[in-house]
């Protein structure tokens, strides 16, 4: 009983995850499934920021850079190669590499949160401008035309490794994405439970104390950042494969803002919160967009302000303490 209580969060995650992976593809309609796949793809991106920001303490306003780079890398590579296996890996490796370079730049000198935020934002804008300016037939990499603000259309889907004719689409892509999400969620939780994970949190809590105990804060942060970059890259790959399309919009400020909202809505400092927040916000936005009741920016912005003013801790921590409260009350009742 105690065992169950201690691991309630994990068990809930497993239960929800299992349902999502096994049951949904059977019962959901094809369009809903398509939409849901997108939510899960973006949830992976949300997880990457929840990890980097909520646990690593790195306020990165450029998580979309790694996402977008992953998407572009995959799109360009798969158009040239045909088989998706290597492009998928490149789509993870290249963003991780960029995160490494950027992280070296950022963490080897004491830079305040604000500087870090602005520099990461600047990098995402650089990508936005550069990809946006790539219209015209001279901007091609192999067979792939970059296409400026129109982006790259007709990106081939992921296929079973070595079998280009076995494409992973619709229900299969959904299952693949859900499994990836589960693996990453579990992996990050596992990582947090290791000694390295404790050091990551320690660095977030007090950099100076961590240093004084002999921990190398710079490499710790760099590692966190690279892992986050790789995860965001994977999400970008899945995104490009899902919509067969990638465009400079992935580098835009609005998109970056969205990632931050997901994490905040769910609650900073939790992993499950990022997933919940992402799915809820995206579902709400999709619904708003379809219902055309109000401008998406208007509603999202208002929600953002209200959230910060009145519910700073986010959904998951809020719910958790509410549950603990209720439990306490039930127990103290005669």
């Amino acid at each position: 009983m105690n065992w169950v209580r201690e691991r309630a969060g994990l068990l809930a995650a497993v239960a929800v995850g299992g349902t999502l992976i096994v049951v949904v593809p059977v019962v959901a309609e094809i369009f809903a499934l398509f939409e849901l796949t997108l939510f899960l793809v973006l949830a992976i991106l949300a997880l990457s920021l929840a990890w980097v920001w909520g646990f690593g303490g790195i306020l990165c306003f450029g998580q979309s850079v790694f996402f977008g780079l992953g998407g572009y890398t995959y799109a360009i590579a798969v158009i040239n190669m045909g088989d998706s296996t290597v492009p998928l890996m490149l789509g993870i490796l290249l963003p991780a590499l960029l995160a490494g370079i950027l992280g070296y730049f950022l963490f080897w000198q004491r830079i305040s949160d604000v500087y870090l935020a602005v520099i990461t934002l600047a990098v995402s804008l650089i990508f936005y401008y550069l990809t946006g300016a790539s219209a015209g037939s001279e901007y091609r990499i192999g067979n792939a035309l970059l296409g400026g603000y129109n982006g790259i259309p007709s990106v081939p889907p992921i296929n079973v490794p070595g079998l280009p004719e076995h494409q992973v689409v619709y229900g299969d892509l959904y299952v693949l994405t859900a499994v990836m999400l589960a693996v990453i969620y579990g992996g990050l939780r596992g990582l947090l439970a290791t000694d390295f994970g404790r050091v990551v949190v320690a660095v977030r809590e007090n950099e100076e104390r961590a240093q004084l105990l002999g921990y190398d804060v710079r490499t710790t942060k760099l590692t966190v950042f690279v892992i986050g970059g790789a995860i965001a890259g994977l999400s970008g790959v899945l995104f490009a494969a899902w919509g067969s399309y990638v465009s400079p919009n992935v580098f835009s400020m609005t998109f970056t803002a969205q990632i931050i909202v997901w994490v905040l809505v769910g609650g900073l400092g939790t992993l499950s919160g990022a997933v919940v927040g992402c799915v809820l916000v995206q579902a709400a936005m999709t619904w708003l967009g379809e219902a055309k009741l109000a401008d998406t920016n208007l509603v999202l912005g208002a929600a953002f302000v209200v959230l910060v003013l009145f519910a700073r801790r986010g959904l998951v921590p809020g719910t958790r303490s509410l549950l603990a409260d209720l439990r306490g009350r039930v127990r103290s009742a005669p």
Binding site: R198, V201, E205, Q211, L212, L213, G214, D216, V217
Partner: protein, 244 residues
């Protein structure tokens, strides 16, 4: 040939803009020594410590530890060589539990089991075992001091720097701390910044007096306390217990 001193500074200087907090300090401590640093407010004691740990980069001069030059080395690298500090304002992992705080400091102990053992041991020594599950951020000041002392002890360092370890402690706790520091100093070198006269007498150490960033006097506790110049820098009075 005698062994080189465990710690030696050569003309160590630290300036903040126009303020010279540490002024050409030549200081040495032998291995196994227990040393007290005293001096009026703003004398530069904490700054001196922070230059030793690499938290501050000295403006000029050198720091040698175990015969090797560590001037300007990264804080974590200096820590790994065996220098540990309890800061004047306790620096803890506020969002983590007391036990987790200690555990993070035990990485030298070895594997998981060894770290757990070490953690329990430190919690017992500092009297924090009953509070192991509390968040460090929720501890009252006195217990924060104990916890930070625990973190410093857990790494089993060759050199311990303690910046006002008894601030905010009760009389009885001061006596306990003095006892603890004495026993710690049996196996390692300890430098303590302390204003508390009772404490200094109890640990019966050599005393170095800082004044305006320079070393004013150095010698056995009683001789230093009797020194006219020391009385003068403390405005004609001996340092009163608890002043800081």
């Amino acid at each position: 040939m005698t062994n080189p001193p465990l710690l030696e500074t050569i003309a160590l200087t630290k300036r903040f803009g126009g303020v010279t907090a540490i002024d050409r300090v030549d200081f040495r401590v032998e291995a196994g020594e227990l040393r007290c640093l005293i001096g009026p407010n703003g004398a530069g004691k904490s700054t001196f410590f922070r230059c030793l740990t690499g938290q501050l980069r000295p403006t000029a001069g050198r720091v040698r530890f175990g015969g090797e030059d560590i001037t300007g080395a990264a804080t974590h690298a200096i820590a790994r060589r065996g220098v540990a500090i309890k800061a004047q304002i306790p620096a803890l992992f506020n969002g983590l539990s007391v036990a987790e705080n200690v555990r993070l400091a035990t990485w030298k102990a070895g594997g998981r089991a060894a770290r757990t053992r070490k953690t329990d041991e430190i919690l017992a020594v500092t009297g924090l075992s009953p509070l192991a599950a509390r968040l460090a951020g929720s501890l009252p000041h006195g217990q924060r001091q104990w916890l930070e002392l625990g973190l410093v002890m857990a790494g089993n360092p060759a050199l311990m720097l303690l910046d006002e370890p008894t601030a905010g402690m009760t009389r009885q706790e001061v006596a306990q701390t003095a006892e603890l520091v004495r026993s710690l100093a049996k196996e390692r070198t300890v430098i303590v910044v302390e204003h508390d006269l009772q404490f200094i007498r109890m640990v019966a150490a050599t005393v170095t007096v800082f004044h305006q960033g320079q070393i004013l006097v150095e010698g056995p506790a009683d001789a230093v306390m009797a020194d006219q110049r020391v009385k003068e820098v403390y405005l004609g009075q001996p340092p009163t217990p608890g002043a800081c």
